[in-house]
Structures are given as C-alpha cells and as structure tokens.
Symmetry: C2
Subunit: 210 residues, 2 copies
Amino acid sequence: MGRLFDKSLSDILQEAASSAPTPGGGSVSGIAAAFAASMAAMVGNLTIGKKKYRDVEEQVTALRDKALGLMAAFETLVEEDISQFGKFMEAYRLPKSTEEEKQHREGVLQQALKGATETPLKVARACVELLELVCELAPIGNTMAISDAGVAAYLAEAALYAVLLNVDINVPMIKERGFAVQAIEEKEGLMEQARSLREKAVAIVSERMS
Amino acid sequence: MGRLFDKSLSDILQEAASSAPTPGGGSVSGIAAAFAASMAAMVGNLTIGKKKYRDVEEQVTALRDKALGLMAAFETLVEEDISQFGKFMEAYRLPKSTEEEKQHREGVLQQALKGATETPLKVARACVELLELVCELAPIGNTMAISDAGVAAYLAEAALYAVLLNVDINVPMIKERGFAVQAIEEKEGLMEQARSLREKAVAIVSERMS
C-alpha cells in the first residue's frame, strides 16, 4: 500500500472524497495539523538568519526544530490512524459462531476501539503542544511572516476539534468504564486548552500585524 | 514548475515549512479547505446507494457533486494564490529610478495587491458555500459517517479565518479606499457567516452522533 504522504496531494484528496474508508476524518485532521506545524516552521525559518532577529535566533531555532518534530509526529499519527482502522475492520470480521469465538472477537474489538480512541487523543495532545509553540513564536517571529503563525493557530485548533470527534464515536462502544470516562475528560480539557491558546496566539498576531 | 497538487504530500509539507515564499499561509488554507470539501464529498459517497437513504439519494448526490466542485475550485484557487504571489514579487522588483518608472511600478503593485486580496476572498466565499452545503448534508447524510461532516465544518471555518489574514496584510497597502473598505467589510461578514454555519453544522452532527 505504501505511505499515504508519498502520494500526490491530488490523489489523496480523491481518495479522501471517495467512499473508501481511509483516509477518513481522523487522517484528514492529522494532515491539517501537519500543515499547521509547517506554517510554524516556516515562520521560524523566515526569522532565523535575519539581522533584525539575531537576539531571538536561538529561541526561534529551538521552536522551528520543535515545529518540524511535530510535523513529523502528525505524519506518523496519520499512518497510525489508518492502521488502527484496519485493525478495527479485522476484528469486526472475526468469526462469531461459538461462544468462545464471540468472546475472543469482543476482546479484540475492545482493544481496537481503545487504540482508535488513543490515536486521536495523541493527535490532539500534539495540537496543544503546537498551539503552545505558536504562542511562544508569535511575539518574536519575523513580523513579515507573522500572519502565518495565525494560520498555524487556526488550523491546529480546528484539527484538534475535528480529530476528537473520533473519541465521541468510539467511546460509547468501549466497555471499560474507567477508560471511557478518562478519554472524555481528557478530550474536554484539550478542547478548552486549544480554544484559549488559539485566542492568545491570534491576539498576538493581530497586534503585531497592525 | 508544475502544479502543486501533483507533488507528494510529504514534499508539499517540506516546501511549506521551508523559507521559500510559496506555498504560504494562503495556499495552506486553501489546501485545508480542499480537505474539508473532500470530507463532505465522502459523507455523500457513503450515503449514495444505501437502501436506508434512498429517499434522500437525489439530494445527497447533488450535494456530493457540489462538494467535488468546491474541492476542485479550492485547488484552482491555491494555484492562483501562488501565481498572485509571483506577480507581486515581479511588480516589487520593477525599476524605480525615474518618476515614470516609479509611477508604472506603483500601478502594477496596486494591481497585484488587489489580486492578492481578491483571491483569499474567493477562497473564503467558497468556504461559506461549503459550510452551507455541510448544513444541508448533516441532517440527511449516513449516520455512520456523519462525524466527517463535522470535520468538514471545523476545517472549512478555520481555513476561512486563516486565509482572510491575507486580506488584513494587503489592505493597508491598497490606495483605492473604496476597494479596501469593501474588502474589510466583506471579510467581517464572511467570518460571522462561517462561525454561525459551523455552529449549526456541528450541533446537527452532535445530535445525530448521540
């Protein structure tokens, strides 16, 4: 099958739009998050090496490197999202004629559901990390490119809300109550963090653009 | 140079993250919007041909086709965004030794700035169209895929906010006051529409998921 990110953007969009189950909403959210990270890295790259920003060069270089790390992490998580879906479908197709088979199938399904809940939470955690990074970068990055820090913030926030819809889908089917409750609580906390970090980042960007 | 969408996702992300001026925030926003459209189309494709949804098949087919049209439109607008930037840089590099040259350069620059304001407004208008489409699709699309209508709504809204940052950048440099005022007014209207349409779409999606 090969890695999704090696395909052309055009082909990925066609596959996403088709009735094929992957890439679905989780993967598309992860791709949007990767683009958000790319914009943070670009703001860093347009700041590094500029005389005017020499005082913040070390700090911006660290932020640029972290943004590139997050971009790579989102790519890995998208591939994980796709393989999680495969595991779920495999589990779903297991035989269920005997009591033994039923029990085995249910156990495998529950594992797959937990995985398919954990992956979007990982994407969302990385989105919050990215938003924190943008809040550090926005006050010191090159003014000429600072609107792209705003682009990063808007896309990272939306990617987080979008990917967490998968938590809402999977949690009702998870039987381990503790896991389910914790996933929902974490989801709600991440959404609040994202909103407040995006507001902060966009406020800084707006001020520096005016 | 070739079309951006023919490149691999991996290469596009690397270019976006680099200090190369394109693809910048406008293009990345347009790509996010294209992915939003792909999710609306997918929900359509997962509804069409299903017995349970036969009553809405005609309506959903029309919405699916419109979503695919918007996906293609975003692709065209991203290429337009890239070529607008090229025009702006060309204008910027025009000679400005004589009074005549200065006047010519200023005229070309003003044209380029208007173009670079008009393109993000076109992207934003298409995002609003997509959000309207999602609001029509969300109540009738296949429940099994309805969370992806939520993904479409979140990403389309964020893409709109993100792309309109380019209006804020360009408008202060535009000398034709009427054009500038109208662009800002339209921007604000589009942002309000997007917020309210996204809220509506996500509310429908949440209700159908529960």
